[in-house]
């Protein structure tokens, strides 16, 4: 037993993230590419990939920097999607208000689930989040406002600031890009703030962080809420883009998907989960057309990730570069 408990936690395999300024040139180049992309690819597809990337980055805040594996992040995604869909469709709220409600609802769920889940660590944390999100799934299955198996269909896209019609896919794309970039920036800020440093300290050695006087549970809970709220942002955007909030958003398979994205890209790296998200969405798109069983392929990638490259694509890349330097 003791030998295992001394083993490094999941995130410790990732190389320490580079602190300091992100290379501005690369960020600028990335934004230019993102601006050009919808002219080359189908905009809805790019939006789907961006949403997945945001979701995975939000999730990674918990796993990569908090060292806690949540198996229930679909609950936050789904909650926000329902809040967004219901408020804009039934109550006639504008886009911005719906988005805000979605984020708040997801954050609130983060408080409820987080308070319970952080009472246990490691493997139990994963099982508790999984169980609670499954509970939420059953609740959504039965409450009338979610329309059960049908989901909330025909969610209106509305207008940004009351002026720009989101029905136009280019306007939708640029609005979404702006919001997603804000989300990325927030995550980047959180990770590189004193808060993020404390979080990493807790991940690497919890008893030491406690002995230094940090209220560990409060930091964990705060990280969990932030992660939940940002996952909610992704979920709310998803409901607008696809004009649908459905039970699928809340399933445990969806929670598993976001873990895969993060694992594939690289746990505990800034860029990794985003890359993983884009890859998984692309793959799903390709597989759906080919008629191959998607789950089997996703499962095999999962197995390969865990067995062969636990650092993920970006993590391996960083490790390789470090090795070359030294």
């Amino acid at each position: 037993m003791s030998k295992v408990e001394n083993a490094p936690p999941v995130a410790a395999v990732s190389p320490s993230t580079r602190t300091g300024r992100a290379p501005l040139l690369w960020v600028a180049l990335g934004i230019v590419v993102l601006l050009l992309l919808p002219h080359v690819l189908y905009p809805v597809f790019v939006m789907k990939a961006l949403i997945a990337a945001l979701f995975a980055c939000a999730f990674n805040l918990m796993l990569g920097y908090g060292g806690l594996l949540s198996f229930g992040h679909a609950a936050f995604f789904g909650t926000a999607a329902y809040a967004m869909a219901h408020s804009t469709k039934v109550w006639g709220w504008p886009f911005e208000a719906g988005l805000l409600l979605g984020v708040i609802a997801a954050g609130f769920m983060g408080v409820v689930i987080g308070v319970l889940a952080i009472r246990r660590q490691g493997i139990y944390f994963a099982m508790i989040t999984l169980a609670l999100s499954q509970m939420l799934y059953f609740v959504y299955l039965q409450t009338p406002f979610t329309h059960g198996e049908d989901g909330i269909q025909g969610v209106p896209r509305g207008r940004v600031l009351g002026v720009f019609d989101l029905g136009d896919s280019m306007i939708m794309y640029h609005t979404l890009l702006l919001i997603v970039l804000c989300g990325f920036w927030l995550i980047w800020r959180a990770v590189h703030s004193p808060f993020g440093q404390v979080l990493k300290a807790i991940r690497d050695n919890e008893p030491r962080a406690i002995s230094l006087g940090y209220n560990v549970d409060r930091y964990k809970l705060l990280a969990f809420i932030l992660s939940a709220a940002l996952s909610g942002l992704a979920g709310a955007l998803n409901a607008v883009v696809f004009q649908l909030a459905s039970l699928n958003d809340t399933t445990w398979q969806h929670s598993g998907e976001v873990i895969l994205m993060t694992l594939l890209g690289g746990v505990g790296t800034i860029l990794g989960p985003a890359v993983g998200g884009v890859l998984v969405v692309t793959l799903q798109n390709y597989l759906a057309a080919s008629g191959l069983p998607v789950d089997v392929v996703i499962g095999l990638i999962f197995i390969a990730c865990v067995l062969v490259f636990r650092r993920g694509l970006i993590g391996e890349l960083l490790a390789w570069r470090e090795k070359k330097k030294s």
Binding site: M1, A7, R119, I123, Y124, M135, G299, F302, I303, R310
Partner: protein
């Protein structure tokens, strides 16, 4: 609420509890020895039901031979999984083995869903177990009664094997201190692989028992396993007896909820889990970690 209806739901509750108990027992044994949370437990339970179905359709072997053969087949699959994959993760954070077995679940379910869709295939109970049994205070479907008895025997057998036999003593010793146990000349790696096979074989056995009740269906395992996880959190994973007791208790509670407040029957186990976490975070039978 009539007495008969109450009793009928209670009987269903106890037999569902029997499945929770058998599955959480397997999880507890595997976790205790290997420090692995076996997400694939549900998928292997499903595999057990499908193997029973294949035995019947392809080889004409009935229910009772299946009860014997399936745990061995599923156990062998488990040994294979352990030797080829899980073994490489020994000593790493248990989150990795959770993710690995999650991947295995997706693959197994995906394969069966590809060939069988999401709908179930019926598997009928053997003629000997059709009908009802009069227990004096109630009349119960014979098959449900059989499930309860069979799982109680298996649970007790497993408990006995681990707590009261020499092999069980080796197992417990290896759990306590693997290095020292190995120094005494006991082949711990083999013991670990066998434990995984045994735990998984239990899931296969439960799968055969479940086949006539639920339809044989690719998703029958994953819906169950999440509830079983909650059961395990409630009972605490350290204790075998705790796994068995909380399995049966929660099955009964779920049955009662179906009578008095059916809307909540799906979520009652999770609610109990939340309450237990608030009151006694280590679980009812668990030691503080």
């Amino acid at each position: 609420m009539s007495y008969q209806a109450l009793m009928a739901q209670l009987a269903i509750g106890v037999s569902n509890g029997a499945f929770y108990a058998m599955l959480s027992l397997g999880l507890a044994v595997i976790f205790g020895m290997l420090n692995v949370v076996n997400f694939a437990h549900g998928a292997l339970f499903m595999l057990g039901a499908f193997v029973a179905l294949f035995l019947k359709l392809k080889l004409g072997l009935g229910y009772f031979p299946a009860l014997l053969i399936v745990p061995i087949v599923v156990g062998l699959v488990g040994v294979l999984i352990d030797l080829t994959m899980l073994k490489r993760l020994r000593g790493l954070d248990p989150l990795y083995s959770l993710l690995l077995t999650f991947g295995i679940t997706l693959v197994l379910e995906g394969i069966f869903r590809y060939f069988y869709g999401s709908s179930g295939v019926p598997y009928s109970a053997p003629d000997e177990l059709v009908g009802a049994v009069d227990l004096g205070f109630m009349i119960m479907p014979l098959y449900r009664f059989w499930v309860i008895v069979a799982s109680a025997v298996v649970c007790f057998g497993t408990w006995y094997a681990i707590e009261r036999t020499r092999l069980g003593a080796y197992l417990r010793a290896a759990t306590e201190n693997a290095t020292l146990t190995q120094a005494f000349g006991i082949n711990v790696p083999v013991l670990l692989t066998l434990t995984y096979g045994l735990g998984v074989g239990l899931a296969g056995f439960a799968g055969v028992l479940a086949a006539p009740i639920y339809q044989v269906n690719p998703l029958m395992g994953s819906n169950l396993i999440i509830v079983v996880f909650a059961v395990v959190v409630i009972g605490g994973m350290g204790s075998i007896l705790g796994a068995i007791v909380s399995g049966f208790a929660l099955g009964i509670l779920e049955g009662l909820t179906k009578v008095f407040y059916p809307e909540a029957s799906n979520i009652v186990v999770f609610v109990v889990m939340a309450i237990v976490l608030l009151v006694k975070p280590a679980g009812l039978f668990g030691r503080a970690t």
